[in-house]
Symmetry: D2
Subunit: 139 residues, 4 copies
């Protein structure tokens, strides 16, 4: 893993995502970011519904830092990126952005998301299983 | 239970509830209706998180019919009503409305919601426990 | 238009769509249905953000009837269908279903949605513009 | 304004707020935080729907930093706090927390939110109107 590879996932803005200001509601970018993390894991062969049953883990978000740079509007085509910044024993540091498809150099928002591997019952941090770390490094 | 009593619960419209049309997004009235059903059950002494653990049941929505009559806007104060129409062995028929606090004769929407008592694991219909039917009839 | 053609749109279930019951939250099927209506209109060359500006109309949902038949879970692949049942002067009657991709004969939910063409400012019904009716009939 | 006063707003966790992990979905704490900011402004006599029309401004979130400390579950009673950290020409720095009502010393999450005053049409930063700054300092 050289930290350079970047996964990206397309998203379309629907009415459900917008608010009375005419733009995407600020919390909904977090939904977009999670869709992209989910699809990035899926591409690595990791389904979260499977992981929740066996070995009984979830990825819980521990910290987010997001800069909102410009609003996205109804019908916009966006692209959400995921890039690993750090792999630790129980946590991952990810860089994520939401970009207009047709103007990727002017992001809607960008930020850092730290997810922690927790047991699905009590939400206590547990080490990332070896088979997951391996796939992350192969990414 | 004479079918006349009506429970109501106040709701305020926030940005999260609206869409780019400037009004409450149509699916969000269903969230309001569920908040009112939850608070109505709670007033009857029934907490859904407790019921899910013991006796292991959920109320799943089986059917909705909703007429949208006029839009609600940001900052509006609404009131959501719940009235029992029918108690059956495994299901409840409820009438619900969402009304502007200051103009209750002109509802935003009104409809019928049929909820079924299901086991929390497999979502199969199960008879309403006797202690629940009793409280509904006392309502 | 022979009422037989059916549009369908794929949807994936993410964490954002589910609730503590472990299944898709009932209001979120309405979001899926609207995504499908939006993409169906887009395929007909009709962008809602464009229509809102010129000729200044929205499609507002006037009535829904939905039967919830079986729950969808995290990571499920769904397909949302749209079929015209009726075209009237100011309104459309649509039949919509949400189906598991791998078991389309056992829908998660199905229903009817009546949308009304309204002016974007005051939400008063207005006749469907001729260019829209034409495209609907060509569908 | 001495930065010590704190506004707080009660929130209840409903099914709509939770996800299949059994806890509040991470993006939904941002909805709670916005409800509290809205009510805090309302208590200062500032309605956002009024401000959007006259003088035509919105408060847009520019940056968030949130630490998620422990999960909240269905039916939990929470309290959301707002405290001014900084008033600048076009922006406000706020500290916000989401606390369990019955265990306020163990927050679910806490963070910083920077909101910028923008014109409602083009989302360009504009100076906070004097009547708003005055009320913030009286807070």
């Amino acid at each position: 893993m050289d930290g350079v590879r970047e996964f990206s996932w397309p998203v379309r803005v629907y009415y459900e995502d917008t608010d009375a200001g005419g733009v995407v509601y600020y919390a909904n970018y977090l939904r977009y970011m999670e869709r992209a993390r989910t699809e990035w894991l899926r591409r690595l062969g990791l389904d979260q519904s499977t992981l929740a049953r066996d070995p009984g883990i979830l990825f819980a978000v521990h910290r987010i830092e997001i800069d909102y740079l410009r609003p996205a509007r109804l019908d916009a085509r966006l692209r959400v990126t995921v890039r690993i910044e750090e792999v630790r024993r129980t946590a991952l540091g990810l860089a994520q952005s939401v970009l207009p498809e047709d103007e990727p150099q002017a992001p809607c928002c960008r930020g850092r998301v730290r997810v922690v591997c927790v047991d699905a019952e009590r939400f206590r941090p547990v080490p990332l299983p070896a088979f997951i770390t391996r796939r992350l490094h192969e990414d």
